[in-house]
Amino acid sequence: MREKLILTLGSLGTVLMLWVIYTVFLGLPAEILQGDIYRIIFIHVPAAITAYCLYGVAVIASVGFLIKRNFVMDSLAVSCVEVAQVFTLVNLVTGSIWGRIIWGIWWTWDLRLTSQLMCFLLYLGYLLLRPAVSDPTQRGVMSAILAIFAAADIPLVVMAIRLKNVRTQHPQPVLETGGLDPSFVAPFVVSMVALMLIGTALVLIRLHQESSRREIDSLRRELHAV
């Protein structure tokens, strides 16, 4: 059942993404100011939105773990964070490639870019912290606190291009300002759905790994006890 669900979600996500790539590369014209490089937006922005959704689930699961001390919550949090890190990396790398063409530089210490990098590094810290703590309860509590603390950076990333007194090189949010051409909306939305489906499939795989790891830990304890 679980494997079928993962396969279905993953396949559906991949098929939708292939449609997006086909449409973006062959169906849409080049943008008048940016040329072809604007097409990166169809993976750059959906990757960021998927990552934030997954960080959000991780925070909810972390709060759940702190309240109920249920290890499934801890597993869900770490699974979501790990997959979200992959999408954050996709966002950072594609943004950097876009910046190389449009700004002429790979990176700038702009508020939006810096806060997004901070988000990536904070959750990287979360993933590096976990193996360093051997006691499962202590590990879960410390990870949950760090996951909640790190999430404080996400509103900063979102608001970085909306704050009035902040000058940023990053483009304004085109979805809210209506700057997105109607023909771009369908591939944009489908790309977001595709990445969400792929992300969910990856989280389910990670969740299974975490449950197997808990089983391994209990078997090890059993062996030591015998």
Partner: protein, 53 residues
């Protein structure tokens, strides 16, 4: 400019897919290791339990 523009767009999509596919491979290899370890421990526990005391 246009050719370079197109090339970098292809780099962008390739990088994105490489990161995602790389992560999938990492997950698959990790799953194999975990499954092997689980099998090994289960057989060890069974052996210990079947041993005469």
């Amino acid at each position: 400019m246009d050719v370079r523009n197109f090339t970098y767009m292809v780099y962008g999509y390739s990088a994105a897919w490489l990161i995602i596919v790389g992560f999938v491979f990492l997950l698959v290899s990790r799953s194999r290791k975990i499954d092997d370890e689980l099998k090994r421990l289960k057989s060890l526990v069974e052996d210990r339990e079947s041993e005469p005391r």
